[in-house]
């Protein structure tokens, strides 16, 4: 999908989060998908998407403990194929936003390929990559600098004074991610990152997957 040059504060976003049975792309699957829309810096609380998925594989004990979704809850829910077709429609041509988005998208696109022979090609922003970049730009900003060790969603949310209610619920997590992205916007602006093309240069998830493990941080745009 072509990346348009739009002011960040005017672009349409869809903030995404998934819950998974585990992190192994070969064995694990999606338990739930949630998404919430943003128009620039405004989170549209009503415009959201949340589906539990009947997983192909058995729910693992450990993952049930994390997301709290049990087998009986999902067994009557639609399969991933139907959910994905609805999801891709919901995303429209908005920019996708997520924390460690590469992980969510790898599962989503694995199944997209399997059922539809295609992938979701919307441009996507990883809030983790944005965070890493902003941390370098604003070393004196306490809520950014303090997080060197743990850059998880909740840790960042906490530092930005974002309310966390239910952990590991996809829609709540998407909402938290949206608020983090919202908090980042004024900081991006201050760094003179004002349009979506520049935003993608620093936050594109598809280029950032391997960056998670990199110790050397880069922030070039």
């Amino acid at each position: 999908m072509k990346i348009k040059r739009t002011p960040i504060i005017e672009a349409d976003y869809v903030v995404v989060d998934t819950e998974l049975t585990g992190l192994d792309e070969k064995k694990d699957s999606i338990v739930s998908i949630a998404a919430i829309k943003m128009i620039g810096g405004r989170i549209s609380l009503e415009d959201k998407f949340y589906r539990l998925v009947n997983p192909e594989t058995e729910l693992k004990k450990e993952s049930v403990l994390i997301h709290g979704i049990t087998h009986s809850e999902v067994s009557k829910k639609p399969g991933i194929k139907k959910v994905l077709s609805e999801f891709s429609e919901f995303c429209s041509d908005n920019i996708i936003v997520g924390h460690f988005l590469a992980i969510d998208m790898s599962f989503i696109n694995r199944d997209m390929k399997k059922f539809f022979g295609t992938t979701i090609k919307n441009p996507g922003i990883d809030t983790y990559l944005l965070y890493r970049c902003l941390r370098k730009k604003f070393p004196e900003q306490k809520c950014l600098a303090d997080l060197l060790k743990d850059s998880g969603l909740y840790k960042i949310a906490k530092c930005f004074d974002i309310q966390i209610t239910d952990m590991h619920n996809a829609i709540k997590d998407a909402f938290i991610t949206a608020q983090i992205f919202q908090r980042f916007m004024p900081l991006l602006r201050e760094s003179e990152i004002e349009t979506t093309d520049v935003l993608l240069k620093i936050g594109d998830y598809s280029k950032g997957a391997d960056k998670y493990s990199q110790s050397e941080e880069s922030c070039n745009f």
């Binding site: 989170i43 009503e46 209610t165 919202q182 004024p186």
Partner: protein, 633 residues
Amino acid sequence: MILEEVVEFLKKVPPFQFLEDTELKKIAAGVSMEYYPSGSTILYQEGPASEYLRVIKKGGVKVFIRSADNEEVVIDYRGEGDVFGLLSMVKGDRSIANVIAVEDTISYLIDKQTILALLDTHPSVTEFFLKSFLNKYIDKTYKEMHNKSLLYGGGDKLLFTTPIGELSNRKVITAPNDITIKEASEIMSKHKIGSLVLVTTEGVPVGIVTNRDFRDKVVSKGRQVTDSVTSIMSSSLIKAEARDYCFEALLKMLRYNIHHVLVVDEGKLKGIITNHDLMMLQGISPISIVKELESQQTIEGLIPVSKKINKIVSLLLKEGAKASNITRIISEINDRLVKKIIDITERELGKPPVNYCWIVFGSEGRKEQTFKTDQDNAIIYDDTDTKEEAEKAKVYFSVFASHIRDGLLKCGFPLCPANYMATNPQWCQPLKVWKKYFSNWVSEPVQDSILKSLIFFDFRPLYGEISFAEKLRDHLIIILKDQKVFLGYLANVIIKNMPPVGFLKSFVVEKSGEHKDMLNLKIKGVSMLVDIVRLFSLERGIRETSTLERLNVLKNSHTTAKEYAEEIEHAFEFIMLLRIQHQLEQIQSGSDPDNFIDPKKLSNLEKKTMKEAFHLVSKIQDSIIERYKSLIW
């Protein structure tokens, strides 16, 4: 899940809390959310109108306008649960004010259609918004008028209790709707009016023609003047019901950006109500009270009028007036009341043997009165030549002062517990004795004389021979020159009253007794600032007595005052307003007003502002300590 949070939040916030759950759920479903870092501008004056009503979920904003000479006029601070952007949203025109985040702020956005629908269907919502918003707006425009003319009609009526019908006695010239264009224009020429309302034979208004219609629809279109007037009238009339309260008319004016609304009663035209009528309604009370005071001839007649003064405070508060404006108006009214009492007494007792000046001091002297405060007054009379004359004056003024004291008491001014009243022979003296008092206090600053000077040096003449007070002021300024020791004593008093700044999370509050855990807004608030500004004024020989007037003069001559003038003013206004609001609440709930507030009940923004005020006092105290180093013990 996310929307439940919104519903829960709205349930605690007026006016949404008045709504049913189902209604709240509908509202929540359309809500969106924005974040503004501290310092960012959310709405610009004259900028595009807001498409949303914003409800502050967290944080706080400042609403202000810039006047023509680029002065910032703060309309309001809003905190959690407050809303902003209503007026420009309803008006749909330009944004009326600037709104800037003063803390990191999150707000919920409710779209225009939802709010308009609510206003149409829920009178409680309409009333709430109008009470909290429109008055503040009206106040600004009304003030301009107020400055021009102080003389409008009587009565004690309000926007929210007066039916439109009562105001719309203006007669509207109408014509039947079956006349021709020519006939209509003849009627308009005859009455010299620019528009004409057309009514049916039953008196129901059906349309209006204006000068413009003749130009645009008749002349330029070449229409026959013998055509029916209905062919050129516009039939979209903005009407209001006579039995509705005035704010309904105001809302229509704002919404349609018009200045007149037709008033109908059961469908029939009753009159017209204009923007001007509404302004008059708003401006009535303080003026009408003054007029009423002036027309009384006896103390007994003054008593019921004086009881209305507290109501003005609530009116002014509702209108969003600044604390200093409220105290100025109240002081003005109280002055008139006192003058009237003196006037009546003089007439009863006959002319005094010598000239005199009635002076007031304390908060009355500073024109910082809110609700009825203790009597703080004294008499300076002319120096007499003979012993006989002196005796005569003493006798007269003793009786005179007690008459006035009783009159003031009847009108609600309590006696001064410390007996700083003209009835006390010590405070009813010829000018030369007063000069001696002042000289003694300044040259021998013991605790008692320091205390007296703090109270008496804020004196101002209220009645009689003003020049006596002026001469006393001259004397004071002269004896204070280079009296570093005396000023050092005052400085000590000031720095002993430490603001509770050390505690970031909570204030230092009363540690025990009846007011445990309460903050004393007088001692740990107003007085701290008053004392500081008084010290600066005495240092510079400033004649003004009110804190803000003093500051205004000091700005040009006093380095510390110059540096902090704006902050002091802001802090002073804020604490005074807090105190007025607190006392008004007490009065309205039937208890006696005091100065103790519960810091827990302050909003975050209020707490923050309070802390800033304390920090300010602390900073200024440091600079005072620095200057009086050698005299501080």
